[in-house]
Amino acid sequence: MNFGSLHIEQTEETPKIAFDVESGDFIMEGRSLPEDAYTFFKPVIEWINEFIESHECDVKMKIHLDYFNSSSGRYLMEILAMIEKSCENGDRFSITWISEKDDELMIEKGEEFQSLLNLPFEIQPV
């Protein structure tokens, strides 16, 4: 089947999404502040769902967010939980959480996700 990569341009309040099927490099970067996080994340979640269903995954996901609001946090968690589940079924995902080294808060957020998930999850201060 023909299943393409996912690209969503960055805006001032939503992150760039670049999930490349060929290389397995999944990038999410920018800010995620939409009041209605559902509308933004729904297609991303659907895409990941379909990707997991149809591919044997070997994915390096890089998340580099400047800010995210609490409702975006819920959808991020949903995405990561889907990934966690697919890993139980033999898929391979690794998550790199990138934060500026002086950005205590985002590092803390990364650690929160890390503690909630059973996944290769690395926090990388830059």
Binding site: E12, E13, L33, P34, E35, A37, Y38, D66, Y67, N69, S70, S71, G73, R74, Y75, M77, E78, A81, E100, D102, D103, E104, L105, M106, E112, S115, L116
Partner: protein, 367 residues
């Protein structure tokens, strides 16, 4: 809990009739103007849809602001006082009003008064002529005419400038200035907001607030507000990203308010101030809530305020995990928990009764 320090209601009352109010108290920095312009453009573009108005607002904001910065320097008051000023921009109906308070040397009052009076006495054609003259004179004389900035402000606003001087000490006085214009270009006799601005000055001084914003709390205001906060608060003494922490809490507060605020007088809005008390940054935010929401909010806040940091982490963790299974993630109550988690002290709140089944809800958060 000291009620008066936690309530944002007196501030709200001061600007209640404004669709938008933005106040800045503190050192005036030049690059700050572009941020104010961002806010005004984002807010006004939507309510009026008039780019012409936007341009004018932007122009006047920049001129007024820079005029204060320049003036502060030119009077040669010691650096701190020269840079500290007070600046409020508001929108009421078709009117846009800029009020400022800045220190001047008492000895300069007469010459400043002469300049403003001269400008106020001139017709548009005469102002234009004076403007051209000033442009051509390479050396701007101190006493001859008025400064270019003031002339420009008067020309663009199309209204008389309002002003007052208030003696602070023998040597220093406050120059209160009000510039106004209307989106339809109508000549109106502008009501004076000088007393109201003075009250805001005192209220913000009491609370050591640096920024006040009253208006729409919807998404489009968030990005420019965030930029202002980041620029203003930058990094703390340990080099940590303080501005980001302030921004993070602010986003949650604004989005929380935009979800719960009640429409009043046709406006659905709120107010917040950010300031610094005892070396700690705080955010004090407020909005109108319906009586029937109050009980639920009170219950949730009491619960959160009773929790330790560890409790909060655990509850947050549970809620996040639960939400994965939930279809509807909008009703989470996660916002307040997030705010409490990011705060360095316990949250404080106050409800001020407003009658008509409404209360004013204030939330005080220490960053």
């Amino acid at each position: 809990m000291n009620h008066s320090s936690t309530s944002a209601f007196p501030l709200y009352r001061n600007v209640q009739h404004c669709a938008l109010s933005f106040t800045y108290r503190g050192p005036f920095m030049d690059d700050f103007t572009s941020r104010i312009v961002d806010i005004s453009e984002n807010t006004i573009a939507d309510s009026q849809g008039l780019t012409k108005v936007n341009k004018k607002v932007s122009f006047l904001l920049v001129e007024c602001f820079q005029n204060i910065v320049r003036h502060g320097e030119s009077v040669g008051i010691h650096a701190e006082a020269a840079n500290s000023g007070f600046f409020n921009f508001k929108n009421i109906g078709d009117s846009y009003i800029i009020n400022s308070i800045n220190p001047v040397k008492s000895a300069e009052i007469d010459s400043l008064k002469d300049q403003v009076e001269l400008i106020n006495s001139l017709q548009p054609e005469e102002l234009k002529k004076m403007y051209k003259q000033q442009l051509m004179e390479s050396e701007i004389s101190e006493k001859g005419g008025a400064g270019l900035g003031l002339i420009e402000i008067a020309r663009r606003s199309g209204q008389k400038l309002r002003y007052e001087f208030e003696k602070i000490t023998e040597a220093i006085s406050h120059f209160h200035q009000q510039v106004m214009f209307t989106s339809n270009g109508a000549q109106v006799i502008a009501p004076s907001f000088i007393n109201q601005t003075r009250e805001m000055y005192d209220l913000m001084g009491e609370k050591q607030a640096l920024i006040e914003y009253k208006g729409d709390f919807s998404q489009k205001s968030i990005v420019p507000l965030l930029t202002i906060v980041e620029r203003n608060f930058g990094k703390d003494i340990k080099g940590k990203a303080l501005g980001k922490r302030v921004g993070h809490i602010l986003i949650e507060i604004l989005q929380n308010i935009s979800k719960h605020a009640v429409e009043y007088n046709g406006l659905c809005d709120g107010l917040f101030i950010i300031g610094e008390q005892n070396g700690k940054i705080f955010i004090l935010a407020g909005n109108i809530v319906a009586e029937n929401e109050k009980a639920e909010l009170e219950r949730r806040l009491a619960e959160i305020e009773g929790m330790t940091k560890e409790d909060l982490k655990e509850v947050h963790r549970q809620r996040i995990l639960e939400s994965v299974a939930q279809e509807d993630k909008s009703k989470s109550g996660l916002g307040l928990i997030e705010i409490a988690k990011a705060s360095s002290a316990k949250l404080e709140h106050v409800f001020d009764p407003m009658g008509e089944g409404l209360s004013f809800f204030s939330l005080f958060v220490q960053v």
